[in-house]
């Protein structure tokens, strides 16, 4: 019996190791390939079939060109500005709305929750044509603000929806006790309930940041000047021209453009998961 269990444990372990390797290869291979392409000399691309993993001549040329001859650093800063601002604004709006929807009871609350839910499912492709009109009326065309504003369309409903689940799951007693002690509703909300959803807030912030960092369609429609583009757009826009792809630089940009998000996740992964855990159980 004992032996059997040990044997089972052993095969289970091997199975897990094997699956980790398979998933790891599948997930990471494109990045490894990007990296290899980014350190190869341009001419080597056309002989890649002979020995794909040997790099005859390691060069940082593509990185240097990317940083020097394109506005890559500017694009990164733009992306950072847009993603941070949009996530922060969306968080404030979404958080108080979530509190209202998840914690308070009043007439029409259910309907409001439904509306939020439905809007969060409307895909950008239904909206980008008329949104162009809205952005122009606000005279925000071709500015970073246009994207910050427009990204609210998918961030706010999402955040409100996710966090209202958290608020629903909170015990009411704490806040009630505080209210009996004389705290106003505002105080009860800010001082008692909101700190309790912090893990959730962190995880939706991650999510919001990632969504904004990666967005492409709106950026593509609303931004015209190269100096105002976020990185996801700027790179594609400048480095694939007509029938010429600057592969080395493209891949160098792909590597560098992924770094900030990856670092955040690598370091704060546990928070993210903790947030998801708390939230997902309650849906």
């Amino acid at each position: 019996m004992m032996q059997k269990i040990q044997k089972f444990e052993l095969t289970k372990k091997t199975a897990i190791v094997i699956s980790v390797i398979i998933f790891g290869l599948f997930s990471l291979f494109p990045f490894a390939w990007m990296f290899l392409t980014s350190i190869r000399a341009g001419g080597e691309l056309y002989t890649v079939n002979q020995s794909p993993f040997a790099v005859r001549e390691v060069t940082l040329d593509h990185y240097q060109k990317l940083l020097a001859e394109t506005q890559f650093v500017r694009w990164m800063l733009n992306s950072l500005t847009i993603a941070l601002a949009a996530s922060a604004i969306a968080l404030v709006i979404g958080l108080i709305a979530a509190y209202s929807l998840g914690r308070l009871r009043y007439k029409g609350g259910g309907v409001a929750a439904l509306v939020v839910f439905a809007t969060y499912l409307i895909p950008p492709v239904l909206l980008f044509i008329p949104l162009n009109d809205v952005v122009n009326r606000l005279q925000l065309s071709n500015t970073l603000w246009s994207l910050i504003l427009v990204y609210l369309t998918f961030l706010v409903p999402f955040i409100a929806w996710m966090l209202s689940g958290y608020f629903k799951s909170l015990p009411k007693e704490l806040a009630d006790a505080a209210r009996i002690d004389g705290a106003s509703r505002w105080q009860a909300m800010v001082l008692i309930d909101m700190p309790l959803v912090l893990p959730g807030v962190i995880s939706v912030l991650f999510f919001a940041f990632t969504l904004s960092w990666n967005e492409y369609l709106y950026a593509f429609t609303f931004i015209r000047s190269s100096s105002k583009m976020p990185v996801a757009l700027g790179v594609v826009n400048s480095l694939q021209v007509g029938d010429v792809f600057f592969w080395g630089q493209l891949m160098a940009a792909a590597i560098l453009g992924s770094v900030p998000v990856v670092i955040i996740y690598a370091f704060l992964m546990d928070f993210y998961l903790a947030g998801l855990t708390a939230g997902s159980v309650k849906g």
Binding site: Y46, V73, D243
Partner: protein, 459 residues
């Protein structure tokens, strides 16, 4: 436990420090390198200035005026740099400011700008877009007439692409001269002495090369590579007497013997081509050619340009010849770039001044020079200008005057929104691609007819 946490904190701090260092050094690198790029640009323009007289000063002053330009991004970085530099010179001479952005998706951005009535005081248009925007663009007939007087008149194609209801809505700046690119060494090895002038001879050459086991022909035929594919597909269709519509521009006419003949030709050619031509994207044939996998393809001069930079052994063996002719003569599809001024602009005078100025030889000629015929004016005096690439580099000589006998999508109908839509649907390309992947001719024609009927209508 607490040790662990401290450790984490420390690694976090180190990481942040490293990051900051990277960003800082990157910023530094940027400022240094930018000056380098600018000097490069200057050398280019210096060379140019040796050849042409200095720029005439625009008479007017536009102090405090900013015009925004949405331009097509070129695969030759120097072309963007030259234009940016010219914009600066214009700014100095007129006290105005021209802010040009070069964009890969310039068509979408122009569309968004015109639709919303903001930005893009100078907008670069593509193909028959002048017909899509029509009277949302300023009338620039006066500039067009001046330019015709100055530079020996326009190619017919110029008016076809810009005159909407009798009014010039855009100034055609340049077209992309296309040709068949081929490997001289492969042709030699196969014993082909006479360059193909008709489609039959082209087929014969492809057959000989195929049978000799040399790198085959590879003509892109895939909607992920719309420009190359359309160039070959429309030209072939027209040269065999087929067309998508009649001259009225609304009666669908794809169901014809000419179309069938062209499709049969494509099937025959397909036997001798690289099998993956239906998978090439816009750069697919470039890469295959540069890797030595194919020896003949349709393209502008981007292969030649990249080869000079990255594959000198291939560059030494590149040749071009004109699109062949068929039973219906030599009919070539031409891609054209135009400059227009949206009617919503706040600064029509400044924009017109800039447009007129950009079209002067002093500005346009350097572009055409660096552009290796990728960017060729539609004014006849350029044909024999000594500065034109085709009069300098013998490899480019066959591209000379490629726009003569050229047409836009929808020919023989007039350029229209419908023909643009049919082009965007890539109906003609897909018709040819489908017979390459096994669809029979009748089905291919039927499918194309159904797609075209969804676009064109006569009422």
């Amino acid at each position: 436990m607490s040790y662990l946490r401290r450790n984490q904190k420390r690694s976090m701090t180190t990481l942040i420090l490293i990051l900051m260092a990277v960003v800082l050094s990157a910023c530094q690198a940027q400022t240094v390198e930018v000056t380098r790029v600018v000097t490069e640009v200057e050398t280019v323009t210096e060379e140019v200035e040796v050849m042409v007289t200095p720029t005439p000063a625009p008479e007017e002053s536009f102090a405090g005026v900013t015009i925004e330009g949405i331009m097509r991004n070129s695969f030759i970085p120097a072309m963007n740099a030259i234009q940016a530099n010219q914009a600066e010179v214009w700014g100095e001479e007129t006290q105005g400011f021209a802010d040009l952005t070069f964009s890969r998706e310039w068509r979408e951005q122009v569309a968004a700008s015109i639709d919303s009535g903001a930005g893009g005081d100078i907008s670069e248009l593509f193909a028959n877009q002048a017909f899509i925007y029509g009277d949302q663009l300023l009338d620039v007939s006066d500039i067009a007439e001046e330019l015709a007087d100055q530079y020996g008149g326009w190619y017919e194609l110029a008016a076809e692409a810009s005159v909407v209801d009798g009014v010039w809505r855009a100034i055609p700046r340049a077209y992309t001269a296309q040709a068949i690119n081929f490997r001289t060494d492969v042709f030699e090895e196969a014993g082909i002495e006479k360059l193909p002038e008709t489609y039959d001879e082209l087929l014969e050459a492809a057959r000989i090369i195929h049978e000799a086991g040399l790198p085959p022909a590879g003509f892109t035929m895939n909607q992920a590579g719309p420009n190359d594919s359309a160039n070959f597909a429309y030209s072939l269709l027209w040269s065999y007497g087929g067309s998508e519509v009649l001259e009225d521009g609304c009666t669908v006419a794809i169901n014809s013997d000419g179309t069938r003949a062209a499709l049969e030709y494509m099937i025959e050619l397909g036997q001798y081509m690289a099998p993956d031509v239906t998978a090439y994207d816009e750069g697919g044939n470039n890469r295959a050619f540069l890797a030595g996998e194919i020896s003949m393809t349709q393209n502008a001069t981007s292969i030649y340009w990249v080869a000079q930079q990255q594959a000198p052994d291939i560059a030494a063996n590149i040749g071009h010849f004109k699109y062949p002719s068929g039973p219906n003569g030599r009919q070539e599809f031409v891609q054209i770039n135009l400059l227009a001024i949206p009617a919503h602009t706040d600064n029509p005078e400044a924009a017109k001044n800039f447009l007129r100025w950009m079209m002067q030889e002093e500005q346009l000629s350097p572009l055409a020079q660096v552009g290796l015929t990728f960017y060729t004016p539609l004014l006849r005096s350029y044909d024999d200008a000594p500065t034109m690439p085709w009069n300098i580099d013998p490899v480019l000589e066959p591209l000379k005057g490629a726009a003569d006998g050229g047409h836009l999508a929808g020919w023989p109908g007039p350029a229209s929104r419908e023909s643009a839509a049919a082009y965007e649907n890539q109906t003609i390309v897909n018709m040819f691609a489908s017979v390459l992947t096994g669809t029979d001719i009748e089905t291919a024609v039927e499918n194309a007819e159904a797609e075209l009927n969804a676009v064109y209508s006569c009422n």
